[in-house]
């Protein structure tokens, strides 16, 4: 029974006094180790609440990153009990095992300090994948008509809720094994733009994603789609790029590179 449905009488009396054993990874690029903090339990407490409590009440030198607290900005992703999660929308009671939390910086990215990773390699790969807007019209042109039920628009719309949190990037074993691999987020953004009728860079995108480390490096192991907090499907997007690049290779792609 969820806590909010309990009356004061049935709520466990020990709840107020109970603490969580929280092990936070402390260190920098040179290495580090876990440090234990005992954090008071609260109802509906998120992992980000826990980290904030530690920083405000226990150790002001703890470094972490967050902004919106409501799952929109994508800046608070961390490894929580060894799985990548958006900490602001992850409730402690759903992930704590035996009253313990292990919080670490995102996997597959260089650590700057404590829970903060250097996101540069992640975003550099977005540019490398040509996941940038390629204008196809100028300000003198009229508004582009975007038809919501167009199949290509549906493909584009499927990926636009990406919040750049890098959870898929941290979950991906191919990224772990191949530093040149562009990763699920960059490739999904490339696929979204490829399907956007207003983007004029279809061929540039296919050139970029069919290089070494591009979409064909993906092994379809699906951790990206499994862990995406917004229920997006980067693996499906990468499959779309694989098909589009292959079609173009066999000369079956349409003008502008789109299929």
């Amino acid at each position: 029974m969820p806590d909010e449905h309990r009356t004061a009488a049935t709520r466990p009396a020990s709840n107020e006094a109970a603490t969580l054993a929280v092990y936070v990874w402390r260190g920098d690029a040179g290495g580090g180790a876990e440090q234990r903090f005992d954090v008071p339990k609260q109802d509906s407490q998120t992992v980000l609440d826990v980290v904030t409590w530690i920083q405000q009440q226990a150790d002001a030198s703890l470094t972490y990153r967050f902004a919106c607290r409501v799952g929109m900005c994508g800046s608070c992703a961390m490894m929580v009990n060894d799985e990548p999660r958006w900490t602001c929308r992850t409730h402690v009671e759903r992930v704590a095992s035996d009253g313990e939390l292990h919080i670490a910086p995102l996997r597959n990215l260089p650590v700057i300090k404590d829970l903060v990773t250097d996101m540069d390699p992640f975003f550099d790969k977005w540019v490398k994948a040509e996941a940038v807007h390629h204008p196809s019209a100028g300000r003198a042109d009229g508004f582009a008509a975007v038809t919501p039920d167009d199949p290509q628009r549906i493909e584009a719309s499927a990926g636009i809720e990406c919040i750049n949190c890098a959870i898929c990037y941290a979950a991906c074993d191919t990224v772990a094994g191949n530093p040149d691999y562009l990763g699920p987020a960059a490739l999904q953004r490339a696929w979204t733009l490829y399907n956007d009728s207003r983007d004029g860079g279809g061929d540039a995108i296919l050139d970029a994603v069919s290089q070494s480390g591009g979409c064909h490096s993906c092994h379809s192991m699906g951790s990206c789609s499994h862990y995406c907090p917004n229920d997006l499907d980067p693996m499906g997007a990468i499959a779309g790029l694989k098909l589009a690049t292959t079609k173009r290779f066999f000369g079956r792609g349409k003008g502008g590179g789109r299929s």
């Binding site: 990874w25 290495g31 060894d82 996997r107 951790s223 789609s225 499994h226 694989k242």
Partner: protein, 121 residues
Amino acid sequence: MSGRAGQMAKRRIRGHALWYAHILHRVSGIGLALFLPLHFWVLSLAITDVAALDGFLAFADLPLVKLSEFGLVFLLAVHLFGGLRLMALEWLPWPAPHKTLAAGTLAISAFLSGVFFLQAI
């Protein structure tokens, strides 16, 4: 990243169906890659060393070796269907539920035809 942050994470994030499908495909592929050169080498004995081939065929008739042939057939089947799965996943422009239905239908038909086949032999 060092210590727990790097090591333990690998274990946890690998426990879902698609990851198991990936590793099954990879391991069965390696198994077949090891088996095939051996298979062709044994076949070549028919030309180069008939006595050795007869010796091997006698060995292959042992019950344990016969039993392990099931493992080989399993590897082949798993790798074949794993490859079809990947091709459907990446090449067919179908919606995901259609692919699930198609895979389910294929599995049921393979099971039924397998049962009839075993009845026949």
